[in-house]
């Protein structure tokens, strides 16, 4: 379940800012660096991420090997490097549902739901790059808090650029995103919303 939450959090940065509206298609290139206790050196990977509407999330690793991870309302699907497929149905594994619920809440723009799981701090401009705005998400849920210490999201023009996920066991995942399509679609509703408030 926690794994599902963590996956969702990786996209929280931009999805959180999207308000209810038209179906959104977002695509970005990513570079991920994972530092994990037990590993002698960080593991680096890169690929693309795609998110469609409220239904579909796809994480595709291209380097150093092919790997695909797809999340829908009904299931979680993995395609392993040798082509083996693993599917876990939401009916059988509640954590897939947890993830879905979180994503759907995010997509719907329901900040009230998100606020139940995280304390969200808007920390202003990033120290290293003044063009980036820093958001800090702290899990409220005890189970989630046992795995994740904090998530930092850096965004520019309301579009996420960097995500740092700090785990309680000392692990750290750093994700850099370069939007390819859909950034405007994400940006517009939030700007409208902020303009309203």
């Amino acid at each position: 379940m926690i794994r599902g939450f963590c996956l969702a959090l990786a996209f929280l940065c931009w999805a959180a800012l999207a308000q209810a509206g038209e179906a959104v298609v977002f695509e970005a290139e990513f570079e991920q660096t994972r530092t994990t206790p037990g590993l002698e050196r960080p593991f680096e990977s890169s690929g693309t991420v795609r998110w469609t509407d409220e239904e579909y999330l796809e994480w595709q690793t291209k380097e150093p090997f092919e790997y695909r991870y797809v999340l829908t309302r009904e299931s979680m699907l993995e395609e392993l490097p040798d082509g083996e497929r693993r599917e876990i149905r939401a009916e059988d594994a509640p954590w897939v549902l947890s993830l879905n619920e979180l994503l759907m809440a995010v997509v719907s723009g329901d900040k009230e739901r998100m606020a139940r799981r995280f304390d969200i701090e808007q920390l202003g401009a990033d120290e290293t790059d003044a063009e980036l705005e820093l958001l800090r998400l702290t899990p409220r849920d005890t189970a989630l808090g046992e795995q994740i210490e904090v998530i930092e999201v850096r965004r520019a023009d309301l579009v996420p650029r960097r995500i740092d996920l700090h785990e309680t066991d000392g692990g750290h995942t750093h994700i850099r995103l370069r939007p390819v399509t859909g950034a405007d679609a994400l940006k517009a509703p939030e700007e409208d919303a902020e303009g309203d408030s």
Binding site: R3, C6, Y67, P81, R86, E101, L165
Partner: protein, 763 residues
């Protein structure tokens, strides 16, 4: 006077002894399940049914559906009220962290099904893929760190364990899922008390009512639905109580009106109450002495059976209306009264030997009560009743007392009646279909059924109609057979909802295979190099191989987890009786008939209700055979002993013919025979023997005596026949049988047992 004092002293001593025996729990037992038959089959089956019953009967599912966040608030309020006021707790569940701690040492033998399949084909390649996936996945895995479980195999095993409420995710004490624009919040509760105990039912019902009110305040658009055996049991209890109140009021009003109309005096009424009251007192005291506690069902049904004793009162009263000396009346009535009581006790005595607790308790209670009423009439009435006798009204005598005896030509045909009735009655008895069903205590409750259907279809928690019992000579083989069964169930149902031990503890062969496959991978030089390339150093890998080697002799078995947080789960699905292991598999959905009839070696599908009905049926068949034998042999023997061979045999044919006619009615009407019908038959037989004994031994079969029998018949009909109007099948069938039994007993007694004019017995 001495007799009176002796009777009162006996009653007092018995009551004192009974009270002394009563424990802290009090004399009344409200748990109807204590009356159900003990399982007489295989003790393993009995224990499995008991575990299954416990697991199923204490479930309470409450569903709150509506728009969030109000629905969540309402659901939290509902759960809080049920927990604090309703004695409902959240089932103990282990979170993933706890499970991981408990099972960590066994982890190399625990693989998710799809992982095991993949590793069978290529252990090292599959392992390496899993490691890569763990690293590439956009989130860290749960469970152990990467150096202790690089491929995340243990985490996969833990996260793919079946969810208890499919489609729902856990959120504190609640489970939640979205559906068609609303949120469903499920509170799966477990009763702390017995669902069939009145105190539990009241507590839960009141808490649920309050919870609904609070939920309506918090979320006006929400719908709160609840289901569980406790709700049905509670509703049935309320309905039965209301019905019994209505029918008893009607019956009591009718009986009071009849007595006042017959005697035009309240004194007979007081005497009737005294006799019945003494009978009930003796019955309660004696039952408490024998059983320790008295079930409320026994109290109600047994007191109903004591209605037979009103016969004794009427016989005394109608004869007393023609005599100024109560003692003389009793002396004259001693033989017919004693014969009537003896034949009733004979029939009840047979029931006392029944292994069915309900019948046994009922028989002891009714026998003691009848004896108590009889002793009151014989010992107490003459001393207390010293006033001018209450005269029988002319109207009632004309109505009930002027029945002419059968004389002339028709009298010669009387022997034909038993000759025809008894053989056909025996045939009917042999042909009667058994209709025993424990559910006949219940009348359908449509509103609850539809609420139950709504909750269960929303949660996917179909009420299991039965369970599979898996047996083998040793525990390992039980797990093997269970795993094979669960595989078939999963394939046929398309989901993984059935509950069983192997969901958590794979068969030993699978654990050994998993351990072997992982070991093969960890020792593969190519994999060692690949892992090193990914950043897993040689030292880490060496430690991993040492851990694997240390787990080589470890096998996860049910007994290993017996004293852990998983004990509750295991207790519901794993059992050992007399050293024989077995497991229960509870399907949460329809079970194909093919699987029910043949689920594999050592596996049987058990439907508890059917099994209970089968036990009921066997015990009822046993009891009814004995009752018929007692009737066929005991009643003629008793009658011949007390009335002489010729007259006694002739009189005995009356209750036997009445019994036969009632059996024919049950056959023709399709009611069949069951435990409750049997009670009606015993009642009819007792009354029939009573009437026949009275008429055959009555001095002169006077108009008053005949009126007395008519009065007794009418009051018994009012007391029992009205139960034929009940909506509860068991009571309805009992009432109908009793009504037919009483009418045929009355008719047969007059036609067969009544001596022709001039041949009445001299006292």
């Amino acid at each position: 006077m001495i007799r009176t004092l002796a009777w009162i002293a006996l009653l007092a001593v018995l009551v004192a002894l009974a009270l002394a025996r009563t424990g802290e729990e009090g004399p009344l037992d409200t748990d109807v399940t204590h009356l159900l038959p003990e399982e007489h089959q295989d003790p393993l089956v009995a224990e499995a049914m008991s575990r299954n019953r416990l697991g199923v009967s204490d479930e309470l599912l409450v569903l709150v559906r509506g728009p969030d966040p109000a629905a969540r608030e309402a659901a939290e309020a509902v759960a809080g009220i049920l927990q604090s006021e309703g004695g409902v707790r959240t089932p103990v569940r282990e979170d993933t962290e706890q499970l991981a701690e408990l099972l960590e040492d066994y982890r190399f033998g625990l693989l998710a099904d799809d992982r095991r399949e993949a590793m069978r084909l290529a252990p090292s390649a599959s392992y390496l893929d899993a490691v890569r996936a763990r690293l590439a996945r956009p989130a860290p895995g749960i469970g152990l760190s990467i150096d202790r479980d690089p491929a995340g195999l243990f985490a996969d095993y833990l996260t793919t364990l079946p969810a208890p409420y499919p489609g729902f995710r856990e959120s504190g004490d609640l489970w939640q899922r979205e559906a068609q624009g609303e949120t469903l919040w499920l509170f799966p509760g477990q009763l702390e008390g017995n669902a069939f105990a009145e105190a539990t039912q009241i507590r839960v019902t009141e808490a649920l009512e309050r919870a609904r009110e609070v939920a309506a305040e918090r979320c006006p658009d929400c719908l709160v639905q609840a289901t569980g055996p406790v709700r049905f049991a509670s509703e049935q209890r309320d309905r039965a109580r209301l019905e019994v109140l209505i029918l008893s009021s009607l019956s009591l009003t009718g009986i009071l009106a009849l007595i006042l109309f017959a005697f035009r005096s309240p004194r007979p009424l007081a005497m009737g109450v005294l006799a019945l009251g003494s009978g009930v007192t003796l019955a309660v005291a004696f039952s408490l002495l024998v059983f320790g506690r008295l079930n409320v069902i026994t109290l109600v049904a047994g007191t109903t059976l004591l209605g037979i004793s009103i016969d004794y009162v009427f016989k005394y009263l109608v004869h007393r209306s023609e005599s100024d000396d109560g003692h003389r009346v009793v002396r004259g009535l001693l033989r017919p009264l004693s014969l009537g009581v003896a034949s009733s006790l004979l029939a009840l005595g047979v029931l006392m030997a029944s292994p069915f607790p309900a019948l046994r308790e009922l028989a002891v209670y009714a026998a003691a009560g009848l004896a108590g009423a009889w002793l009151t009439v014989v010992l107490l009435f003459p001393s207390l009743d010293r006033h001018r006798p209450a005269r029988l009204g002319e109207g009632i005598q004309k109505l009930l007392g002027e029945i002419p005896p059968v004389t002339g030509g028709p009298r010669r045909l009387i022997p034909v009646i038993p000759l025809l009735c008894i053989p056909i009655g025996v045939l009917a008895f042999v042909q009667l279909p058994g209709t025993d069903d424990v559910r006949s205590f219940q009348s359908p409750v449509e509103a609850l059924l539809s609420e139950d259907e709504a909750v269960r279809s929303a949660t996917g928690m179909a009420f299991p109609e039965g369970f599979f019992l898996v047996r083998a000579d040793d525990a390992d083989e039980v797990l093997e057979r269970e795993a094979a069964l669960i595989d078939v169930l999963d394939q046929q149902s398309g989901h993984r909802r059935s509950v069983g031990t192997t969901r958590l503890i794979p068969p030993v062969s699978q654990q050994r295979e998993a351990h072997q496959l992982v070991g093969e991978a960890l020792h593969d030089p190519d994999l060692i190099d690949a892992l090193k390339a990914l950043g897993l150093g040689a030292e880490s890998q060496q430690r991993l191989r040492e851990d694997w080697a240390a787990g080589q002799d470890l096998t996860l078995r049910p007994e290993v987890l017996a004293d852990t947080a998983l004990a509750d789960f295991l207790n519901a699905v794993w059992l050992t009786v007399d050293g024989r292991p077995a497991s229960l598999v509870v399907p949460r959905g329809p079970v194909p008939e093919t699987l029910v009839s043949d689920a594999g070696e050592g596996v049987s599908f058990i439907r508890p209700v059917e099994a209970m009905n089968q036990t009921l049926s066997e015990q009822r068949a046993h009891a009814s055979t004995w009752i018929l034998l007692a009737a066929a042999l005991g009643i003629p023997a008793l009658f011949m002993l007390m009335l002489g061979p010729r007259r006694g045999m002739k009189a005995a044919l009356a209750p036997l013919s009445a019994l036969s006619l009632t059996l024919i009615f049950l056959w023709v009407s399709g009611i069949g025979i069951n435990t409750f019908v049997l009670m009606g038959l015993v009642l009819g037989l007792g009354i029939g023997a009573d009437y026949a004994a009275f008429l055959a031994s009555e001095r002169g079969t006077a108009r008053a005596g005949i009126t007395g029998i008519g009065l007794a018949g009418l009051t018994t009909l009012l007391a029992f026949g009205l139960l034929g109007l009940s909506r509860i099948p068991a009571l309805q069938e009992f009432g109908l049988t009793a009504a037919v039994g009483i009418v045929t007993a009355w008719l047969c007694a007059f036609i067969i047992a009544r001596p022709p004019p001039g041949q009445e017995m001299r006292a």
